[in-house]
Symmetry: C2
Subunit: 373 residues, 2 copies
């Protein structure tokens, strides 16, 4: 699995290594863009979305509710209450912040249900991805399938998807049908993205094209961030062009995030990421910098391909990282992330020309891509 | 797995054994209720719903479309077109026939998208249930997970659920939001039913109560039949009472079906079911007649419990079937099926007092419970 829960990743990886940040700071403006603003937005989001989310989950039958409450960190495996660690709520924050940017606080207030629906969809995909990828840890706790078994984790994921789309269908807001259709289309794209990811991982290193990995990352990571922003725009009553611009903003920011996340997966400080150095290389992940390096046509690319075909050897990790770097994978990823972030800003400024109004979305985009928060 | 695809089961099991049918024929009326009427309805349903279904599936990205087309029998595993065997379309037929009963052909015409959505949901649950239950055959072909792997079958199921609810959300019909909310709630109930089924199968024979198995069967089999009828009523503009009555009609007919299906699973003619005699007993299934027998407090119940606890022995199948029968499991199931069918008729006549208008739904209910078609 290449894409990670933005929320979870934030806990483990706070540093993009010893390099300068890929994404240049926005020129000084009227809105303070330090991590503080994003943190405030995220806290406010949790406060307004959590009750809606809890109400949705409480409406589930006991068997499904139990698994969902465990997955969200609100119950332990034995059913006792837990303080909870349901993630940073980046996606619902994007819904509410996009609604605010285009329609002010009233629009944001009306979009709380849509924000909860997006978070439910995100968590349904996490439950299923963990089963498929056999991931055993999520948000510092054993994944649901390791506790309840594959079948129950699949069923709880199915129920969360139904809850998300059904919850939106019951929303009397005039934007709800369009939002539900858009969220459903996004689920299909997420499925195709996850499929592409596993299919790419099964192919030989020399057989993977860079555009394929970019498309996969956009479907798997960018699509839901874009959809979250688009839903906020829909609830603000925005026109089609602005809705699409905000979708594109979220997608591009999501790709920038994925590129930085992939850089950290290779060169991140193990003390800060909580994972051994070069963990993604050890797992032979065809992450974006790796595929950029493999397809660079350089001598280092050939060396990298050979290393990736050979069985894993701990001694080779540093050499592999160096090969990716010498083949230009690291520079490409940093440049591409900056480029994607610039495109995101561009899309944002088209839909929300007022820098003050755009400040919240900008802060969130910088928060997920810079990890300075 | 206790519940079966009604459609598929119809192929394998056409006989309830040498007994008289559990469900008495309806008194003669103005509408002919032989299997012919149901067959005509089902054929007409396929003709109107298939194009909608194909359009929905064609809107999927290639990777997901391929798995869906295979699952529906419209493509072979190698991607070449196939004549298709997508099942008998009982659920979409219930949607359209309920809409006709309460709103005439115009309502039925408007409900085609809802009918397709119900069929998509049904097939999403089949894809996932087959993964969880490790079932290798569906509609006489290898199940999708045996061809594409677990992950792809899970993803294709996820995509079909999204397609179903998203397809409804895009329907401009005024009933669409209520229909989507109802279908989503039904998905949650189906998940809880599948969970209960696997949980019950893991428990010891003496620890399962009859009311638990009835509740499970209602959630797993009855809920979607009821939802299909309710959606038809919603699209006919029916009031809440009629919608609920049609939901109850479908649920009770679904339970009657399950009871008869369970009887056939024990005493059905292997030449007609295509399965060895007593297949459900050999698999130690806690089907409805078995649990009725186990909880009967008779000496035969004790014998049955002992046989069910022991490792499978082919020689014991006939003795086990006899124990279920002597403990009253067979009679109970037949009586209960007749009772459920009577309740179904009762609910139907409340919402649709005109026997002519109710004829189609009656024909479908008899078709699935009598298997004379």
């Amino acid at each position: 699995m290449t894409a990670e829960s933005l929320a979870e990743t934030k806990h483990r990886r706070d540093d993009a290594g010893d390099r300068a940040p890929a994404v240049p700071r926005r020129p000084a403006g009227p809105v303070a863009l330090d991590g503080h603003e994003a943190t405030v937005i995220l806290e406010r989001t949790r406060a307004s979305v959590d009750p809606e989310l809890r109400a949705a989950i409480d409406s589930l039958p006991g068997s499904m509710r139990r698994i969902a409450l465990y997955h969200f960190g609100w119950e332990r495996a034995d059913g006792t209450p837990s303080a909870g660690n349901a993630g940073k709520a980046i996606r619902p924050a994007l819904v509410l912040t996009a609604a605010t940017a285009l329609g002010g606080p009233v629009a944001a207030g009306a979009a709380v249900r849509a924000a909860a629906a997006v978070e439910l969809v995100h968590n349904f995909t996490l439950l299923h991805d963990d089963v498929m990828d056999r991931d055993t840890t999520r948000r510092h706790r054993p994944t649901a399938w390791t506790v309840f078994g594959d079948a129950d984790a699949i069923l709880a994921g199915d129920a969360l998807q139904a809850l998300a789309l059904g919850w939106l269908a019951q929303d009397p807001h005039p934007a709800a049908p369009a939002a539900a259709a858009r969220l459903a289309a996004c689920v299909v794209e997420l499925c195709a993205g996850q499929h592409a990811d596993t299919a790419l991982e099964r192919r030989r290193p020399g057989e993977v094209r860079l555009d394929e990995v970019l498309t996969m990352a956009e479907a798997k990571t960018g699509a839901l961030l874009g959809c979250a922003c688009a839903l906020g725009a829909l609830y603000a009553g925005a026109g089609e062009e602005d809705v699409e611009a905000l979708d594109a903003f979220g997608r591009q920011a999501g790709l920038a995030f994925q590129l930085i996340d992939d850089v950290i997966g290779i060169w991140g400080d193990p003390h800060r990421t909580g994972k051994p150095a070069g963990a993604d290389l050890a797992a032979r992940k065809k992450s974006l910098p790796v595929v950029a390096a493999l397809t660079s046509g350089t001598p280092a690319a050939a060396e990298l391909a050979e290393l990736y075909e050979a069985p894993y050897d701990k001694e080779d990790v540093a050499r592999t990282a160096l090969a990716v770097e010498r083949a230009g994978g690291r520079d490409w990823a940093q440049d591409e992330a900056a480029d994607r972030m610039a495109r995101a800003m561009d899309e944002l400024s088209r839909a929300v020309p007022d820098p003050e109004a755009a400040g919240g979305l900008l802060a969130l985009a910088e928060f997920v891509t810079r990890r300075t928060g």
